[in-house]
């Protein structure tokens, strides 16, 4: 009797555990969200135009689409990129819209799950019939969207720092790539911290490909990678990793960690007293406002490289920050490099559509490939027609005591690698990696 009831209890406990796994599989915390799936931006339309504009957009709105993560593990990046999207659409409409018509944003929350990206990409193309799609945060989400884009011959902008190498006629990428970010950061680390590097990276395509890049740039600049480790996105206990790092005795840790759970690494690294002994340089730190979440006693001194920092002292950035603070409040934690990429992506598309005189996919691509400049918050950027990437101005900066960054060095007009000339090739849908192809 006792035995039977025990077995029953265990069986039921198993059912419970399985139920949890299934629910987690359906979208992590995202499955619990009540956020309305489709929320056309409330503030778009002609009413947003201030008195100073030359033309008020009128007529049938142009539908444009955005998919980002408002909930789930990746929302540390998504929240601020959604704000950037709304602000960019509002700004374009305030400046006369596209072809004299206002933009109407259709946006979806992918809840940090890749299958939702595929689903909403289909929905935006087939049902909402948008003129352009922007979005995707992790490289995994971008690669979930890209096959749908290619199949449907839609136009897609990916506005986030990533591992580089995407060559696709239909895809434009406004984020910074390793040949711009790691090519400056790794030599800086070798020069200032020492040649021995330990790489810790998120365990998916971004982390693996970027770790290969780190190795390549380390070799090229007289450094060595003494150890590397890939951490699943769910892991938040870094005890074993910290032990291994201390054994390898590197001069510097290169962090390619991603997401909310991985913030625990910096906390445990500082708590173990390694902050002043073993410096961290990172290609991802700050995009999720880690320097705001962590206290200065934990994060101060971490070195990163991005095109954009809120502190940039340029007129374009001053206007951008003022506009941002007017909409979201002056106490907004920090405007990230991803926000700059999102803002730039939308404005480049708007400029190209206006230049083409149409929102037709092929005509806009032709206009984008004709050589377009934009006065972005990071400075003047130009779209490289051959690669569909941007020529960026890259800065190396250090976390300061006030939860922001101090800029140390600037590299102007750093060009992306050309793997294939997309102006000559309209069928390429591929990604080049340092490992080969």
């Amino acid at each position: 009797m006792l035995r039977k009831s025990l077995n029953t209890r265990l069986a039921l406990l198993f059912i419970g555990a399985v139920a949890i796994m299934i629910a987690a599989g359906c979208g992590g915390s995202g499955s619990t969200t009540t956020t309305t799936a489709a929320s056309p931006a409330a503030s778009t339309g002609s009413s947003a135009a201030p008195a100073t504009t030359t033309a008020t957009p009128s007529g049938e709105p142009i539908k444009v689409g955005s998919i980002l993560d408002e909930t789930g593990a990746i929302n540390v990046y998504g929240k601020t990129m959604i704000d950037a999207t709304n602000l960019a659409i509002e700004d374009i409409n305030a400046k006369g819209g596209v072809l004299g018509r206002p933009l109407q944003l259709v946006s979806y929350d992918a809840q940090s799950t890749n299958d939702k990206y595929t689903q909403y990409t289909n929905q935006l193309i087939l049902q909402d019939k948008v003129a352009v799609l922007m979005g995707g945060i992790t490289s995994a989400s971008r690669e979930a969207m890209r096959p749908v884009i290619d199949r449907s011959h839609a136009l897609y902008f990916y506005n986030e720092q990533y591992e580089g190498g995407v060559a696709d006629k239909l895809v434009f990428l406004t984020g910074v790539v390793p040949e711009q970010q790691l090519s400056t950061l790794i030599p800086w680390a070798i020069k200032n911290d020492g040649p021995k590097m330990y790489v810790i990276a998120a365990d998916y395509n971004y982390g693996h490909i970027s770790a290969d890049w780190v190795k390549q740039y380390a070799d090229k600049n007289g450094g060595t990678v003494v150890g590397q480790e890939f951490i699943p996105l769910e892991v938040s206990d870094f005890g074993a990793t910290l032990s291994k790092i201390q054994e390898a005795k590197p001069d510097v840790i290169v962090s390619l960690l991603v997401g909310g759970n991985h913030i625990a690494f910096y906390r445990q690294w500082a708590a173990a007293g390694l902050k002043d002994k073993l410096p961290v340089v990172s290609a991802t730190f700050g995009l999720g406002n880690e320097q705001v979440v962590l206290s200065p006693s934990e994060a101060q001194g971490i070195v990163v490289a991005y095109p954009y920092f809120q502190e940039l002292d340029t007129p374009a950035n001053k206007d951008f920050v003022a506009l941002w603070h007017a909409k979201f409040g002056a106490d907004y934690p920090y405007i990230t490099d991803s926000d700059n990429a999102v803002w730039t992506g939308w404005h480049l598309w708007a400029a190209a559509a206006n230049k083409a005189g149409s929102v037709d996919v092929d005509k806009v691509i032709a206009a984008l490939e004709s050589g377009i400049d934009f006065d972005s918050p990071e400075g003047k950027v130009s779209l490289d027609p051959k690669t569909h990437h941007l020529v960026h101005n890259v800065r190396i900066a250090k976390v300061n005591a006030t939860k922001g960054f101090d800029i140390l060095e600037t590299f102007d007009n750093v060009a992306p690698n050309v793997y294939i000339d997309l102006t000559q090739n309209s069928t390429a849908h591929t990604q080049y990696t340092p490992g080969g192809k």
């Binding site: 265990l10 992590g28 032990s243 759970n261 708590a271 934990e298």
Partner: protein, 288 residues
């Protein structure tokens, strides 16, 4: 292996074990004593972390904030037991559905109140040197605190009148009732105790992980695994399972990668349950 390497590995393994013990203690009490499968267990941990964060932001020192957490979560558990769960005793599937619903509501309430972003508390206590290694002092504190909570739970159930009544109501409910034990009141207290233990665990983990409304998800699968592998004995079973799984996870992560560490945890659980279907403590002759 040198002495500092072994000591460092030992501390790191103890930390993993303490983490598992903390996240499964409240679940083990509620499941073992009351046969309730609490699917909102992860959210109780999360509430403990948020209670600590809130108290700390309101100006309380960190240690005092941590003491607030079990009180707050215990009271929340009490209210939920009185309002919902007591109507469902003996209906295991219905309790699962109800606690699953509670977990969804709790996550959303916290998202509304605090937003979905990760928050944090800096890890206190600094670090110390161990040969070639530098070790966080808080990880030792966490291990000690986990041990303290286990002892406290043992004393509560083995040395107090309430504990005696709770075990009686759990093992032979009819006889206990016939002897004048008010089972309803005992169940209410046991659920509150389990919730408070979860709250304390959330508070202790808050300074080492990111505090985020969805954090319960990261813990609940591991907590269930520990309790299942532990078997029928509430405390000794779950704690031995924590010791076994925690050290396997840590040592495998250390020798290979964190990915394989997580994998080893699952493989060991499956093999153990195949060989010992009633869990580690299935044949032990102890009381708790």
């Amino acid at each position: 292996m040198s002495w500092d390497q072994i000591l460092n590995l030992l501390i790191s393994a103890l930390f993993s074990i303490a983490t598992l013990a903390l996240i499964s203690l409240g679940l083990a009490v509620v499941f073992g004593m009351m046969k309730i499968i609490n699917l909102a267990h992860g959210e109780f941990l999360m509430l403990g972390a948020f209670a600590t964060l809130t108290a700390n932001r309101l100006g309380l020192p960190l240690w005092l904030s941590m003491v607030c957490a079990p009180v707050v979560v215990g009271v929340i558990g009490l209210v939920l037991e009185r309002g919902i769960i007591r109507h469902l005793y003996g209906r295991i599937i219905d309790t699962m559905l109800a606690t699953w619903g509670i977990s969804l509501v709790l996550v959303q309430l916290v998202v509304i109140a605090y937003g979905p972003a990760t928050q944090g508390l800096a890890t206190p206590l600094g670090s110390f040197r161990l040969g070639n290694y530098s070790v966080s002092a808080y990880s030792l504190f966490l291990v000690a605190a986990a041990g303290g909570l286990v002892v406290l739970t043992y004393v509560l159930f083995m040395r107090t009148k309430y504990g005696l009544m709770a075990r009686a109501a759990s093992q032979l409910p009819q006889t206990a009732s016939a002897l004048g034990i008010n089972a309803g009141r005992i169940n209410m207290l046991t659920f509150a105790v389990g919730s408070a233990l979860s709250g304390a665990a959330g508070a202790l983990l808050a300074p080492v992980v990111g505090v985020v409304p969805s954090m319960g998800m990261a813990f609940i699968a591991k907590a269930f695994m520990t309790v299942i592998v532990g078997g029928p004995l509430v405390l000794s079973g779950a704690m031995s399972a924590a010791a076994l799984l925690g050290s396997v996870d840590n040592v495998v992560s250390y020798l290979s990668t964190p990915f394989l560490g997580q994998g080893a945890l699952l493989v060991i659980s499956i093999v153990l349950l195949r060989l010992m279907p009633n869990g580690l403590s299935g044949k032990w002759r102890r009381q708790l």
